[in-house]
Symmetry: C2
Subunit: 198 residues, 2 copies
């Protein structure tokens, strides 16, 4: 497909992000994205169903990866450990090489209410899928939902920290740090300070 | 306003829930809701902007209550304690007397994707508002977001348990129980069982 158009998908993604940031998501057309990338609209539609999919095409693969990792996690892992292990694998395998894209994407989504809602729906579906995977592991009652919701909260906070950070720390590092923060926050009593732990 | 229409608001709510459950939210009209309640459309629009607001009119009051309770919470409370105390107050003051409505509302929302998305947006806004209140208390870094997200996860799980339960336990009871479950889940290592704790 891409023999005559080296890295067409990457060029389209970069052109789309640039335009979404320059003039806003709503005011950008597919024709403009293709032109900026030096490609045709037809090529755009070979890679993406529409201009929103440039931002959300990874959602299905992310969910499939996380669910399969939780399904295959060693029985010795607790629910939250299984989820965090899956998130760390996704971080290393799907996100770490794409920090500039992730950063631009975060900015575009934060600037558009409809995209923010789409992102909420994506994460809610992810949480429900992870809770389902935990139930298949025999986790009963509210623990499955709570572990999945907690895992998603950890991931989202970690993702924000990673995209905002200018240092060398990996997304996997921020996921583990955020889990530590969540554990401290969830169990903290009285007014002892939380920050700095882990 | 309601001098000539005793409990018009309550009658409209009940009529709306019945119709949403019988024929679906999308296929119910305001005219039908008013007729079922024995009231006029004009009366409906004195109480609700549209048929969706019957299900979401409490969102603003809930957010205001929770934020003010977190703002006013004793300094000695940790972030999660301040949020849970606010949730318990809302449970007792806003929800406990309305379990039948809450139960019907949950069923209607679960059956309609657009309403589910609206519910997600509502809780995301609530979480952001609670994180803001925690930051005003001096909570720094990711702890504010994580405590707010954890509190919302606890509330949502507790709310489901309360509406599904046929016994006498209060929503406040389920909130405290779900916090205990979250604490167990977040800190659990290895394969020890989580259920039954607290």
């Amino acid at each position: 497909m891409s023999r005559w158009e080296p890295n067409a998908r990457g060029r389209l993604e970069q052109a789309a992000l640039e335009l979404y940031r320059e003039r806003g998501f709503d005011d950008t057309t597919v024709a403009e994205i293709a032109a900026r990338a030096g490609l045709t609209e037809r090529t755009f539609f070979r890679h993406f169903a529409d201009k929103r999919e440039v931002l959300f095409s990874g959602a299905g693969a992310l969910q499939d990866l996380l669910v399969s990792k939780v399904d295959d996690a060693p029985e010795s892992l607790s629910p939250i450990e299984a989820i965090v292990a899956a998130l760390v694998e996704a971080a290393d395998g799907m996100f770490e090489e794409r920090r500039p894209f992730a950063r631009g994407r975060q900015a575009v989504i934060a600037a558009n209410r409809e995209l923010e809602e789409r992102e909420l729906v994506k994460f809610a579906a992810l949480s429900a899928a992870l809770a389902g995977a935990l139930r298949r592991r025999g986790v009963t009652g509210p623990a499955a939902s709570l572990a999945a919701d907690a895992g998603i909260a950890v991931f989202r906070v970690a993702f924000d920290r990673w995209t905002e950070d200018t240092g060398e720390d990996t997304l996997a590092y921020f996921i583990r740090a955020s889990l530590g923060d969540l554990q401290a926050v969830a169990t903290q009593r009285g007014s002892a300070p939380v920050t700095g732990r882990r």
